[in-house]
């Protein structure tokens, strides 16, 4: 395969192997003894579009299924009416080479799905024991103008994922995609799939225009709280968004997009008193990095002190509710001044509330050493963030990887 390096020249690539690409991650794994450390990745991805021919067979509605079949394999060249595209350059215009080259990655021709093989390849290289697996193009499905399409596709995806992937490989788990634009179908999804093997929680992609405080969602939150599983909001971007459409470089669209949508939902979640209404529900915020949290804590506290009459359900400061929540670490900002990061960790109570994630294979992924090598953490804190916090959050049985597992002390 050839990748253009400028408008005239190309670089030829004969082979691509994830294990080889990540050989330095494997060296870090061995140098740091990650084989003896429980590592749970709370946010990684696969490319479900590469399995779309299989997935669409799980669509219940015969008319929608037939439509999806036409667009998933007939080679019409038309965009699928089920998927939302957004302009963007996640791979920095081909510089992050695993994007254009991933199709060359060889996997065994056996009964296991290719996505299982590909996932285990990078997990083993990094020393990751378990992951929460999420889709990729579907992260934009919340922007689809027709809720019915999000419902049909996410229901088909969840059936396919739980039956064809998670049941086959216990190291792969998920927080279930919820079709949040349809509150009743969201409730039904939790009810129908919440107890399936490998479903450790529920996930709402933040990039959408539905307020989390809508009364229509309360029965779903009650059900999730009753089930004792966490609810996550996963950041994403949309260059078609009116505000972000004012930016002309993907750098900014990404830096703001992945944060702003989560920030809006976080604000709505807190000022409407949802932590008071659902005090036993664990809430997690995924893929917005960490720097936005101290900013929002200070902004909300400052305004709340002046306008508490607008948030009468609150019994403590917004920042204190935020300290009760969980956060995924990636893409973790690395300031030159480590005091800034250390203060951020302190403000979010990282020791118990922060969970490492890779976001692999996406372009801004983090390896486990980003946590392990932090100079201000002791070994127990590192192990908490890399695995123990997530194990507790998901109440996860890790005995197949660590038969005598004991929480770090």
């Amino acid at each position: 395969m050839e990748i253009p390096t400028d408008h005239l020249n190309k670089m030829s690539v004969a082979e691509f192997d994830t294990s080889k690409l990540l050989i330095n991650a494997a060296r870090q794994r061995d140098q740091r003894g990650f084989d003896k450390t429980l590592i749970i990745d709370v946010d990684c991805h696969h490319y479900e579009n590469e399995s779309m021919k299989e997935i669409v067979e799980f669509i219940d509605d015969p008319v929608l299924r037939r439509t999806a079949q036409v667009y998933s394999g007939a080679g019409t060249g038309a965009n699928s009416p089920f998927m939302m595209g957004s302009p963007g350059s996640q791979d920095v215009a081909g510089r992050v080479t695993r994007y254009p080259l991933r199709k060359m990655d060889q996997t065994p021709d056996d009964d296991k799905h290719r996505d299982i093989h590909l996932s285990l390849k990078w997990m083993d290289a990094m020393g990751v024991d378990y992951v929460m697996l999420f889709p990729t193009p579907m992260l934009l499905l919340g922007l689809h103008p027709v809720p019915e399409y999000e419902v049909a596709m996410s229901r088909a995806y969840n059936r396919w994922l739980t039956e064809k992937i998670l049941q086959e490989e216990k190291r792969l788990k998920t927080m279930l995609y919820l079709p949040f634009n349809d509150p009743d179908e969201t409730y039904k999804m939790v009810k129908d799939f919440g107890d399936r093997e490998g479903v450790c929680g529920f996930m709402v992609v933040s990039t959408r225009y539905k307020p989390v405080y809508d009364n229509a969602y309360m029965k779903t939150y009650s059900l999730i709280e009753e089930m004792g599983k966490p609810l996550a909001f996963h950041g994403s971007y949309s260059w078609n968004d009116h505000l972000l459409g004012n930016t002309n470089r993907f750098l900014v669209t990404h830096a703001l997009g992945f944060t702003v949508f989560n920030a809006v939902h976080m604000c709505n979640w807190i000022v409407n008193g949802l932590p008071e209404r659902f005090p036993k529900m664990d809430v997690m915020w995924i893929e917005s990095g960490l720097a936005w949290i101290p900013w929002l804590m200070q902004r909300l506290d400052n305004d709340y002190r002046m306008r508490s009459s607008e948030a009468p359900l609150l019994k403590k400061l917004p920042s204190e509710y935020m300290q009760d929540m969980f956060y995924s670490s990636q893409p973790m900002e690395m300031p030159h001044d480590m005091d800034i990061l250390e203060m951020t960790f302190k403000m979010i109570k990282a020791e118990t509330q922060l969970c490492w994630c890779s976001d692999y294979p996406h372009w801004d992924m983090d390896v486990p050493s980003v946590i392990w090598d932090l100079p201000f953490l002791d070994e127990r804190q590192k192990k908490n963030i890399l695995g123990e916090n997530a194990r507790k959050l998901y109440n996860m049985d890790v005995s197949d990887r660590f038969p005598n597992y004991k929480p770090p002390v």
Partner: protein, 122 residues
Amino acid sequence: MAKELFVSKSDDLQDGDRKIVPNGNYEIGVYRVNGNLFAYQNVCPHQGGPACEGLLMAKVEEVIAEDKTYQGMTFNHDEMHIVCPWHGWEFDLETGDMVADRKFRLKKYEVAEKDDGIYVTL
């Protein structure tokens, strides 16, 4: 006396070529570009990616007219960049400096030709 690592015969590394040679726990990437040789450890200072296995690309520059208006972008082949394939961090081929934040750099090695061979000084 400093140890030397044999890279290749001179003729086997043509202009524009790159060769990655093992060196202990890691590798060294050796480039010949515009007649000059460069050698760097194949470890990105960001998260440890195999920087030398990525693309070699010309620097991208903005074209700004005299009236300060933006006129597009172009490649500057006088400054070539080593691009780490893990995250896209770019390094100046001549110095090894990370171009967006020069507090970071690739570990550089001396590299020279002698007796029809290319050698890195360790």
